[in-house]
């Protein structure tokens, strides 16, 4: 088996999948390693239990300092979370990007603060590659919710998404799109290169460490599905395992740096559900069809609401809470029996990157979460507004979930100041040549919208940098 490449990319999600595909299409010799399986649309069914087993990271939880737990949810398969997400494609607001310079001193090559305009050319390319379009094909459940927003002088607007016209609005997004209407890095960037023999894709391959010698990355060691260890060498290594895993891999590889594992942002979410008299069938939709941006900025509340959504039966039942805590017994059974009558809002809250990722002396991963007062206020306000919308829309009962995070960002943030960042403006780890981070971990401050489009834009930018090869790493 080939063991030497121009670039080895670790992780195939929104970051790694784009970097690997972009470089392979341009003739670079690329190995893409993914710890999860390579499943495609032919494997995807509306079977929550099996999809969770096959394609999701085992559930990880962290105490949230509010007396509850935050659940971390992510994909573990070729395409990463892009294979099992809802495909919402939003550019970061310029005010969100403007915060990055303040957080980490991030500037452009010209030495001026990094702005949204520096990302726009990359957004353009990603949107073309994924076929981003506006979703105006609202179902009844979205129309129900729109009335609630309007009653509170707020507007529900269509989202843009990387889903094409083959979308059946079947609600299966979280188990993988069975029609390939939902675009992921798997059925776009990766497959376009892999199917033509341009990309070496090795699924079920878990990287144990990055090899570093004399301050330079030289390759990686990984274990395949049979338990066999392999060493591969590369001119550059791109770590893109997601903001929870990337800092762990760097730490386990002996890479040190002030910013590694710090400044983790959660962009925490809570689902708030309302029970209606008529069936809503919120499980038979494109699950995030619309959003309300009225409170997007911190000074306006600091949260974005998305609608409509309801989790599939296991997740729905398991996460249902009321003021007494998680439901169980007859109240739970009675609530879930009305599955088709529930309609839901996803409340996403701005946070300030106050969490951390670390590795204990016993080798175990550890996540520390402590929301500050401002973050708590936003969580409370987002929940209260969501509940008010549901009641205004006609809901007779409101239930909710605990907190979850599907948008982790910023645990190896990008910046000019090594004291406040882990990687430089090009994604190269401070103090270690040829080692790059290519995922959401580089985002210096959590976005107020779904981050996948921005992760892909940043990954496209990284691919351009690697291909230009200003340091001669790939020569």
């Amino acid at each position: 088996m080939k063991d030497s490449f121009d670039v080895v990319v670790v992780g195939s999600g929104a970051g790694g999948g784009v970097v690997a595909g972009e470089l392979a299409q341009r003739g670079r010799d690329v190995l893409l390693l993914e710890t999860g399986p390579h499943l495609t649309a032919a494997d995807f069914t509306r079977w929550e239990a099996k999809a969770t087993h096959d394609m999701w990271w085992p559930l990880r939880l962290a105490p949230d300092s509010l007396g509850g737990m935050v659940a971390f949810l992510a994909g573990r398969c070729v395409g990463g979370t892009t294979t099992i997400n809802t495909k919402v494609a939003l550019r970061a607001h310029e005010r969100d990007v403007a915060k990055w310079h303040g957080e980490s001193g991030l500037t452009t090559a010209a030495g001026v603060p990094f702005t949204r305009a520096d990302l726009d050319p990359y957004y353009d390319r990603v949107e073309r590659a994924l076929g981003v379009r506006e979703r105006t094909d609202w179902t009844k459940s979205v129309e129900t919710m729109a009335k609630g927003f309007a009653a509170l002088d707020a507007e529900l607007e269509p989202v843009t998404a990387y889903t094409d016209v083959n979308c059946m609005r079947c609600g299966s997004c979280l188990q993988g799109c069975p029609t390939n209407a939902g675009k992921s890095t798997q059925n776009t960037y990766i497959h376009e290169a892999w199917a033509r023999g341009l990309l070496d894709l090795r699924p079920e391959s878990t990287v144990e460490r990055v090899l570093v010698d004399g301050g330079e990355a030289t390759g990686v060691e990984y274990v395949d599905a049979a338990g066999t260890s392999h060493t591969v060498r590369a001119g550059a290594v791109v770590v893109a395992c997601g903001a929870l895993n990337t800092p762990q891999l760097l730490i386990r590889s002996g890479v040190e740096g002030e910013g590694i594992g710090r400044n983790l942002g959660l962009h925490p979410v809570r689902l708030v559900y309302g029970l209606f008299d008529e069936p809503q069938d919120a499980h038979m939709v494109y699950p995030i069809t619309a959003h309300c941006m009225k409170h997007q900025h911190d000074e306006d509340g600091g949260y974005v609401l998305e609608a409509t959504t309801i989790q599939d039966p296991i997740s729905f039942a398991t996460t249902l809470c009321d003021e007494n805590g998680p439901l169980w017994g007859q109240p739970l059974v009675d609530a879930v029996k009305r599955f088709r009558y529930w309609n839901g809002i996803l409340a996403m809250v701005n946070d300030e990157n106050s969490a951390t990722v670390s590795v204990g002396d016993d080798g175990a991963e550890r996540f520390d979460v402590a929301f500050n007062e401002r973050e708590r206020k936003r969580l409370e306000d987002a929940f209260a507004f969501s509940r008010d919308v549901l009641l205004a829309a006609g809901a007779k009962q409101v239930l909710w979930t605990g907190l979850a995070s599907t948008h982790v960002q910023g645990s190896c943030r990008m910046g000019d100041d090594p004291a406040r960042s882990a990687v430089d403006r090009n994604g190269e780890v401070h103090g270690v040549k040829r080692l790059f981070v290519g995922d959401s971990a580089v985002i210096p401050r959590t976005l107020s919208v779904n981050p996948s489009l921005t992760i892909m834009a940043l990954a496209t930018r990284l691919a351009d940098h690697l291909h230009a090869d200003p340091s001669g790493y790939l020569a």
Binding site: P313, I314, P326, R340
Partner: protein
């Protein structure tokens, strides 16, 4: 009638305690045999987690024996949270164990997506061999399949 499968991790005492917990957490759930699913789930856990899972059942068994009021006193404990999650996964996965007539939870809650209702569920990924029987019974038959590891 398909015979009930042999359990792999639960002895008779623990299986009885778990069945009582299932009925308290999801009244009516014993009709689908959630204990078979949970036994398979525990068998797939790493050894350390297996021991912890069995310990949670032991910790809640006395309260389960006394009924819902006693179990309510345990509702805020991590042990209850863990067992609750297992029971709800077992039931709302739509699992129906061999020898149980069902119907499964998806019928009860009218989870009617065409993609979901067309499924012939094969539980072998959990170490449970499934077979689709005449009349739409999606019962599962335990087998000697290798136990899959779950992190």
């Amino acid at each position: 009638m398909t015979p009930a499968p042999a359990l792999r991790t639960l002895d008779e005492r623990r299986a009885g305690a778990l069945e009582a917990l299932c009925e308290l957490i999801v009244p009516g759930s014993s009709r689908v045999g959630p204990v078979v699913y949970i036994d398979a789930a525990i068998a797939g856990m790493p050894p350390g987690m297996q021991a912890a899972a069995l310990g949670t059942i032991d910790a809640l068994a006395p309260a389960a024996e006394q009924g819902a009021d006693a179990l309510a006193g345990q509702a805020a404990t991590p042990e209850f949270g863990f067992v609750r999650a297992l029971v709800l996964e077992a039931y709302y996965s739509d699992f129906v164990a061999p020898g149980k007539e069902g119907p499964g939870a998806w019928t009860e809650i009218d989870f009617n997506s065409p993609l979901a209702t067309r499924l012939a569920k094969d539980w072998s990924y959990m170490g449970i061999r499934s077979r689709r029987l005449d009349g739409g019974d999606q019962g599962a038959q335990a087998s000697a399949l290798p136990t899959p590891e779950r992190e």
